[in-house]
Subunit: 418 residues, 2 copies
């Protein structure tokens, strides 16, 4: 069978499963999640064996230590995946909610019913835990899922999918609800991007390269998860001690993630009082600073920042620092270089805080807190499939509700239009 027919078969099975899934009760979905969790723990040896194959191949291919660590499964990590599935059981099922219902003058009752999206395609990179997390989230929200993981994790993903899919089916979930693209052929991922008849929504999870490729080539609607060039603006009316704590946290608590701060903007009125202490605190955590000229007047041994630095998501212990005239210049800088992810102001001035909240165009806008809080769990959603930086459908951390759509339900007794 050609790759194309294989992919269409996969799509058809997913579509068919999605129609059944849309009508399956919360109880059955929860039982399936528990079965899947149990199966992961029971088949741990099998999973670890498969992962060992991926790890061996990865080492032979010379993957970096960081990549190998992302690829690695351990008994503990498998247990975490299982617990993640169990956590979903306690979350409210978004499907079936009638968001609103009203009656028109002609007696028609019009309502909005929350329904699954249908079939979700997920294209992701090396981490095999995404296979289980994404399958669980999609299932709880009543969606069929087609998973396309990175080639490095193929053996792990194949076994993980087989284990959780079988467990789900035995609990009453239709075959085809959880499927993995069983090949590492790049062409398969490309096909997913245009399978509009079978895939309702695509979610790419990975680096900028993957996300840009999907955005450029997909005709299927995309939920774009995002690159974060995040800023913190320290205003002259800030509590500077609080500002230092927040800045250090936003940069260093976990520098490799999208909600970490990449550029620090400092009001010129407080630059001299704030920057020396802040720089010392950051450097103590191993942060390399790259500053504008005004920063370098205050911190002479600071490296110079180039135009490129303002636009860079370092994902590392590097921070660009710029002195700005005022709030206005800070907002302009954010609009010029930001990626509309997470932006923070540190100030005790009410008007400036409100202006920043209102005017900064980003998924999450913070006052007096670390940008590191942009996260589904931190916001209290209980689960997260990614952080959207687009404005359609979902913006910011996406939980179960973001994996649903709505349909209008219109109940009549013979109404016709005149």
């Amino acid at each position: 069978m050609s790759l194309e027919s294989q992919m269409i078969e996969l799509g058809k099975r997913a579509k068919k499963a999605s129609y059944i899934l849309a009508g399956i009760s919360t109880e059955v979905k929860n039982q399936a999640l528990l079965s899947m969790a149990r199966a992961l723990e029971e088949r741990m040896e099998l999973i670890l064996d498969a992962n060992q194959q991926d790890m061996d191949a990865g080492r032979a291919k010379g993957l970096s230590g960081a990549l190998l660590d992302r690829l690695l499964l351990t008994a503990e990590r498998i247990k975490e995946m299982a617990d993640g599935l169990r956590d979903l059981v306690g979350l409210p099922d978004p499907v079936g909610e009638v968001i609103k219902m009203w009656t028109r003058p002609n007696g028609l009752r019009v309502g909005r019913l929350r329904v699954p999206l249908g079939v979700i395609g997920i294209i992701y990179e090396a981490r095999p835990n995404v296979t289980v997390d994404a399958a669980g989230l999609c299932l709880k929200a009543g969606n069929a899922v087609i998973l396309r993981g990175g080639s490095e994790a193929l053996q792990s993903n194949l076994v993980l999918t087989r284990v959780i899919s079988a467990a789900a089916v035995s609990a009453g979930i239709p075959e085809g609800a959880i499927q993995l693209v069983p090949t590492t052929d790049r062409e398969a991922a490309n096909m997913m991007m245009t399978m509009n008849d079978y895939i309702d929504v695509l979610i790419p999870r990975g680096g900028a390269g993957l996300i840009n490729a999907v955005t450029a080539n997909a005709t299927v609607p995309v939920l774009k998860t995002g690159v974060g060039n995040c800023h913190t603006y320290v205003d002259d009316e800030a509590d500077l001690e609080m500002a230092t704590k927040i800045v250090v946290n936003a940069k260093t608590q976990r520098p490799g993630v999208c909600n970490a701060m990449e550029t620090l903007l400092v009001n010129e009125k407080c630059a001299k009082s704030f920057l020396p202490a802040a720089a010392a605190a950051l450097r103590e955590k191993g942060v390399e600073l790259r500053g504008c000229e005004k920063v370098r007047e205050i911190i002479p041994d600071c490296l110079p920042a180039s135009e490129e630095d303002w636009a860079t998501e370092y994902l590392d212990l590097i921070l660009a620092v710029k002195v700005v005239r005022d709030l206005e210049e800070a907002i302009d800088h954010i609009h010029t270089y930001g990626t509309k992810h997470s932006e923070a102001i540190i100030t005790n001035n009410y008007q400036k805080a409100m202006l920043f909240v209102q005017r900064v165009d980003a998924a999450a806008v913070f006052v007096n807190a670390s940008t590191r809080f942009t996260d589904g769990h931190q916001f209290g959603f209980g689960a997260e499939i990614g952080i959207s930086t687009q404005k359609l459908h979902a913006r910011g951390p996406m939980g179960l509700e973001e994996l649903t759509s709505t349909k209008f339900v219109i109940l009549g007794d013979g109404q016709i239009r005149s």
Copy 2:
């Protein structure tokens, strides 16, 4: 200046305007809508003159009567456009609504604030009234708009945009909030599809060709308005008199629009009692019937339907008719050939009605009513920018709220992540 620099200039102006617009009060937006309405009426001669040029050119090019009628502006039609703008004044402003706000255990307050989408690009065909309708809706929801109308209506659109844009600016709206692409070069529309830095959302309004081209080529997120291959299923437990009235209305009340019925599905148990009377009533309104074999056994002079008929959106007084075994087959048929727009069941059986509502995957699902009600005004939204047939962001008729996004606002007092 090259076309590309022109388009980027347009985009930059729109983006800049959108940042200001996001903070403009409802009062100013409403005053602008009233000024725009007044200006349309005051400059009626100018608009009619420009439209006359388009009409002359259209006749010279041999445009069809239907197209010329869509292109034509009259004093009455201009008055209607002005009244449409005035109607928007009375609608609630969606921007600034805090949809929800909650407090996390660490004291962080997390809320969702409704904000404009930013810059909306609209690519549409011959009807110049879209220029005014779309500009008004985008403005009320706080968005800047870049309009790209059909080449046939260029002179009308240029004058309309100049008139309403000047009126808006004089009422305090920033320059660049309402712009028309001032060329009919096809390349300009193509550029809009990939202007991700300047356009947040694209809405194509027109035929399947336009919508497919935008879907295929756009990297900017698209709100896809839809083609409607709509069905009505007449169940054996239907009130057949009601069914006839609804079917006639759904097919004939306005056959050229997307929510008109294109295929009638009839349960085999009531086919003999229902079809002769229904066919007579439809034919009385000039409808041509194309039936499956079972239909033709009952209505011998009915034309035969081909496979293609099941998939066709006629937008005309033609109806495909099929006898089905049961509800199951009806739903399967709808899922095979439907376009997920508007689907109806006529039945008095509660279980079947609920099953249809739950299982049919469409933007609008009707029980005992005409599919012609899928419409923003009919649903009570007061305005409509189009009917979405995709599942992301908006599904079904889109009103002002669908022209907005949200952002998370997080208010802290020094919280850092541990």
